[in-house]
Amino acid sequence: MERHEALESLKIIDEAMAQTRRAIAHGGSGYFFIIWGIVWLVGFLANELLAPHTAGYVWLALDAFGLVGSVIVGIRLGRRVRSPEGRRSGLRAAALWALLIAYGALLYWAASPPLERLSLFVTLFVGFGYAIAGLWISTPLLLTGLAISALAAVVWTAFPSALPYALSLLGGGGMIGVGVYMLRAWK
């Protein structure tokens, strides 16, 4: 075998190993981004276009869709690679989100923000959750959390009335776009 052929084989090996590690670690994350992007896109548009009472029901349905969809996707992705550690990581991730939801509810109760700041409060807390989870799970999730938080803070400061549209179209739409990109790039 010639040197250039050996070099080519080693390159193929390095690429295949890196691609496998990336696919296992991040390959399915795109589905979560798409699911929650749809929730944000529809939910914040409903806030603006529907009566508050109706929008509340829409959010309940969307949150149920997001949670059930995430659990189904999580179980399916967990089946791709079997390992004792993978099961523990899945349970830890589920516990993380349960804790975040519980603490979000407690903070909301303690801070009692005025109704007009409800969207901002929830968005910042969800952005915080994405960023914290992203530190463990994936850099794109961390960056999404920070971007959503910055978007919410900037839009609320400059154009408070545009916040629901920004969160719907830029936040939700952006998450769907990131999710599609991740599925294509990190299959």
Partner: protein
């Protein structure tokens, strides 16, 4: 001096073994995941897996999840040794004075 392994040397099997080498020793991976990852057809991947299984480099486990058959693939310790020896042989070729 380590020698090139003709079973592993074939390009698709080289990528397949590299993908399995990336797993931890107690991990196994689903057939469909490997197929999509390596851009191979079911038949093509199946043929390569059988070849490597015959050599004792990997083991396949068939199981049922929600009544659907699923096949999980893992590298054996023999396969890991063979792969690492193949990589050493490739590096030795690179280190050879030209």
């Amino acid at each position: 001096m380590p020698e090139l392994d003709p079973i592993i040397h074939q390009p698709a099997r080289l990528r397949l073994m590299a993908a399995l080498e990336a797993l931890k020793p107690d991990e196994s991976v689903e057939f469909a995941f490997l197929r999509d990852l390596l851009d191979l057809t079911d038949g093509n991947l199946g043929a390569h897996l059988r070849r490597l299984e015959e050599a004792g480099y990997l083991r396949m486990e068939k199981t049922f999840v929600e009544r659907k058959p699923r096949t999980y693939v893992a590298m054996t310790s023999r396969g890991r040794k063979a792969f690492q020896s193949h990589v050493q042989a490739l590096r030795a070729i690179l280190a050879r004075p030209s």
